[in-house]
Point group: C2
Chain length 450, copies 2
């Protein structure tokens, strides 16, 4: 599949693009990408996916075959050759401002702002939404899992539960941004320079004559790093056999059963054998709630493998990111735009988000403002990342994004960081923005009366 | 990203592969892929994703860079060159049996069975799980949405809510297999030969001076196929203006508000204007439950656009497909394998699924049996699709898979097809399988006593 295909978009983006071209609507438009509300059980988001979004913007093209496909659509039968020629030469030429990956974001705050010829902004809507919303959702979940693990290692095990192979790689990436130490996804590790981790599957045990043989052969091959899976038939029997064999593995893994009770029992047996340095690794449908409960029960677990909860969080399987037109500039005239339906109103104008910190360095509140409002000592979160279609910085290593996220989590007051209670971090719209919304409302009302 | 990378797997598959090679464990293994339980609110699954799984099996390779990455891992420091040479020449050489896409499947039924040198079967576990589970989950949801729509058109709108761009294309594919008429995803339409559909976004309306101008310009460009979005500011005002303009669109689209009430009002206005053939298209966070409720309230809706519910079904965001070793053949000896932990036991042996139909053609029950048991007049569902790594059939068009799914749904008794109540379709394990499970249980027990 072509990774940077211009057709990776909803058809209506292309009908509107054709409409803009054919009616010579050649304004520059600004779109902003944000969520109206945080998903249930989320007090913050962790921005992620910008790198892949920028790669798409830099490389997106339409091939001859793709243009031919559009020409053959009945809907496009009245569209002039100009449009298809436009697509053949299509390049993204706009400016992009965005929150760096690993930044904490809240409802209403633009995570990305794009200013470009309106056709470009329209065609790129679908890919920007899909790219940013997926990774942001996963990184936001990972930060909760990381928080629940209280300093213990968390490794992403989500590859098999991800929505396909590409999704598995970017889910691994977002998991590490949100705080995971690494991933079981080998390709993600290789492509993105992340640590890869792996233990042993039940099939290894089942393929051998008995558990003792399965353990011994694995230790022969991996004398240093072997982590042995002990729950295929009976945990206690397996651990006793392993200790009786007298060959010390790097760790053991529990993948089912009562992890709190079994891990404490295993820890005692290992310690009794003098194997204090043998680590206990736990997996099996874990998430932040189960990890918190295990630790509350005194589970003796050193590392957690978390799969489905990261790759496809069941409590928030998608993020309702939206992409809204906030301003059109045409022939020197600027017109701010807003959606005014009661339930789904949006604020007009190009925005910046300012984050205020208390004297102790903790974040205290955010202000969503017009881009040219004064910071008043607060930190602006949106940074320009592209000018005229060219990137202004090269991509950051995933480790640096992870550090940004962890440092930000440390500055977030504890009540917003905890996983069990909803708490609304204070975010307000500046008076400048409020006034602009009123102005747009009046303009639309006048126009409706005409 | 390389689509058919051998590294698209969990690291433990590769450590075990190295283990099998280094300990000369050269048996042929059979693995089966199935779900232990259906997800909540699902009475059946629709098998999907086989085409992409087979493409992966045919094309999977390890590049020099990928092998180098593995060599550099500390864990692999004791692994001999033989293993890395093996990876450089890696090809899939096994046999595959599978349910054709669009087939209905139930808990416990193998949807795919693979027999191959154990190393190959192990390395390919992760990619087979990720590829089949995602599309099967989406197709299974789509079949419910299709059922709820009672013959009205459903179009996949999930691209922006999918887990990235590749996921959006395969989600569109699986949505069509499950009964959708087509998709808004243009690339999916082009690559997979599916119908593409599109209307108009709020940004088109917002970019123009007023709704009347926005509608008029769109009608200029798309005189035949225009579907106008009427909920940006006020539905009733927009529809009245549109009718007053006197230019008849192909349809109108409602994306928010009280869809049942608004659609009935719009229908009356359109009919009063003599525009009976103008269709009403509805979207906005729809799923099978909302569609059923709208139709129960007499909504006048001709077509539904469904997004997030298809691409990331929140009631079952992932499918717990598992991939279990069921048999190992080594030096002429066959040993059946099973996992015996109480909560997670699996049946050993190579299986076939037989589906029985009643005299009226309706499906009546399934029997999971050993592959060589007699059909007794029932239909075997697993078909051989690969021999020695080569495909036995070319891929079927998505339209044919959709027809298979719809024909199967028609044969499924109504109580399993309805969306609101759980009903367990009768599936039993044959006495031959039961006996084999006992045999394996006794063997493991004896071995544990040794």
């Amino acid at each position: 599949m072509r990774e940077y295909s211009g057709l990776l978009t909803d058809l209506y983006e292309l009908t509107m693009a054709a409409g803009y071209l054919q009616t010579r609507f050649d304004g520059r438009a600004t779109f902003e990408l944000f969520v109206r509300h945080l998903p249930p059980k989320r007090n913050y988001l962790v921005a992620a996916g910008l790198e892949q979004a920028l790669e798409f913007l830099e490389n997106v093209r339409f091939t001859g075959d793709e243009i031919k496909f559009l020409r053959e659509q009945l809907l496009f039968s009245n569209i002039s050759d100009d449009f298809f020629r436009y697509l053949a030469n299509f390049r993204f030429t706009g400016d992009v401002w965005a929150m760096p990956e690993g930044t904490l974001a809240f409802a209403g705050e633009p995570m990305l702002r794009i200013t470009a010829p309106i056709i470009e902004g329209q065609i790129l809507e679908t890919c920007l939404l899909a790219t940013l919303s997926y990774q942001t959702m996963v990184a936001s979940k990972a930060a909760r899992v990381f928080t629940a693990a209280q300093g213990r290692r968390v490794v992403d095990f989500g590859a098999r539960r991800a929505h396909g192979l590409e999704a598995s790689v970017f889910s691994a990436r977002a998991s590490v941004i949100g705080g995971c130490l690494g991933t079981s996804n080998t390709l993600a590790g290789q492509l993105l320079g992340m640590g890869v981790y792996g233990t042993q599957a039940h099939s290894w045990i089942m393929a051998h004559e008995n558990e003792a043989a399965a353990f011994a052969h694995f230790m022969d091959v991996f004398p240093q790093g072997a982590v042995l899976l002990v729950d295929t038939y009976d945990v206690r029997n397996a651990v006793k056999k392993m200790i009786a064999m007298g060959r010390k593995p790097a760790g053991i893994r529990l993948d089912s059963g009562d992890l709190a009770k079994d891990s404490r029992w295993v820890r005692r047996e290992l310690d009794r054998a003098g194997w204090k340095e043998v680590k206990i690794f736990a997996s099996g449908d874990l998430d932040e709630f189960k990890i918190a409960a295990l630790l509350a029960k005194g589970a003796a677990i050193d590392s957690f493998g978390v799969g489905a909860a990261l790759a496809t969080p069941s409590d928030a399987p998608h993020l309702n990111l939206i992409y809204k037109l906030v301003e059109v500039e045409r022939g020197g005239e600027i017109r701010e735009a807003a959606k005014l339906t009661r339930a789904k109103a949006t604020y007009p104008g190009k925005k910046q988000v300012f984050r205020r910190a208390a004297k102790n360095g903790e974040f205290s509140s955010d202000r969503i403002a017009l881009e040219d409002e004064a910071p008043n000592g607060d930190t602006p979160l949106l940074v320009q990342v592209m000018r005229s279609g060219r990137r202004l910085q090269s991509g950051e290593p995933v480790g640096a994004l992870r550090e940004r996220c962890i440092a930000s989590l440390e500055k977030l007051p504890a009540k917003y960081r905890q996983i069990n209670r909803r708490a609304d971090y204070p975010v307000r719209y500046s008076s400048g923005l409020q006034a602009l919304l009123q102005k747009v409302r009046q303009r639309v009302r006048r126009s409706a009366l005409q």
